[in-house]
């Protein structure tokens, strides 16, 4: 149970192969079956109860697909990435500074509107997003239909429907990840448009930020965070950029920091 899972994670953190071919972050709201997707992909046995806020530590697992070793990082289930809680901050920091090669956002097909909120937030931070529309079997039972091709077109990122519990769609998800990481498939996420004042302010701040961020972090996203008065992100970015000057190991550093939050 939990104790075992925690131990397993400790071991994983140590054994986590630096020679992994790709690191994938798994984000999503609570109760979207995110952990089931994680287990389905990695086979690592991690407990998945049906209650909110269950994943309180980062779980990592590996799988091999087309001879590539992929490391999967299960982020805490959150409603948002605006960093109101430790969980949200961890998830945000990993996506922002951990520089995963792709981020899979797991959404609940029976409750798409609410879940897209998080997906849109992730898409503001990184273009390398795959949307995994999970629980399509539940949706079918509830007579809810989702037009996935249309959704992919509207979002500008790949969309894969899955029913992780029944192991449906997981191979397609692996293929989508493979395409994004190794075939460098381009996405064109459609950014959220804000009202005129905000857009005007962003247009002013964004160019000023760019020289500092040097393309490491999305400048529009940072501009928005500065506008909404998020102070935590400023300190984190300062730390991150300084670290990066010293060592050329962004991924490891990002992970280290995230792991430190739990120590």
């Amino acid at each position: 149970m939990k104790g075992l899972a925690v131990d397993a994670r400790g071991v994983f953190a140590k054994l986590n192969p630096a020679h992994s071919d790709g690191v994938i972050a798994l984000a999503g709201n609570p109760n979207t079956g995110k952990s089931t997707v994680f287990n389905g992909l990695t086979g690592l046995n991690q407990h998945t109860g049906n209650w909110p806020g269950k994943t309180v530590v980062l779980a990592k697992g590996n799988y091999r697909y087309k001879s590539k070793l992929i490391t999967l990082v299960d982020l805490p289930g959150t409603y948002s990435l605006l960093a109101n809680s430790a969980d949200e901050q961890v998830a945000r920091d990993f996506i922002c500074f951990g520089k995963p090669d792709a981020t899979v956002v797991v959404v609940d097909a029976t409750c798409l509107e609410r879940n897209l909120n998080l997906a849109l937030q992730v898409m503001e931070m990184t273009p390398k997003v795959i949307l995994c529309v999970n629980l399509i079997d539940e949706a079918k039972r509830k007579k809810i239909e989702i037009d996935c091709p249309k959704l992919a077109e509207l979002l500008g990122v790949p969309v894969v429907p899955t029913a992780a519990r029944e192991k449906v769609g997981l191979d397609k998800l692996k293929e989508a990840i493979h395409q994004m990481v190794f075939a460098h498939q381009q996405t064109r996420p459609r950014p959220v448009r804000y009202n005129q004042e905000i857009e005007a302010a962003v247009a002013k701040i964004q160019p000023e930020l760019e020289p500092y961020l040097r393309g490491k972090i999305d400048a529009r996203w940072v501009a928005l965070r500065l506008l909404d008065g998020d102070t935590t992100i400023i300190t984190e970015i300062k730390k991150y950029l300084r670290v990066e000057n010293v060592e050329k190991a962004p991924r490891e550093q990002g992970e280290l920091k995230v792991v430190k939050c739990y120590k």
Binding site: Y79, L82, N84, C111, L112, E113, R114, N117
Partner: protein, 80 residues
């Protein structure tokens, strides 16, 4: 649109209302916003817990329970 405004805590079970504003501050405010309680969101009071509090609301497709301390901070306009 001449309906009187009230707090979400006063919304009777089974009734729907539209969020007018969130009066909370700081962390609580952000929490409520993140749950989707932004102006113009339609909220339905679904059921009370056996002790009368918290109350479960349907907010953008999910059922979320709020204590009266929080729901009191949300101003809504009841819908017919």
């Amino acid at each position: 649109m001449g309906d009187p405004e009230m707090t979400l805590a006063c919304l009777p079970i089974g009734h729907r209302a539209q969020v007018v504003k969130v009066g909370a501050e700081g962390l609580t405010r952000n929490r409520l916003l993140d749950l989707g309680l932004v102006p113009s969101t339609v909220v339905e009071a679904v059921r009370k817990s056996p002790a009368g509090d918290p109350v479960a609301y349907k907010i953008r497709g999910a059922i979320i329970a709020l204590r009266s301390e929080e729901s009191r901070l949300v101003t809504v306009r009841p819908l017919a």
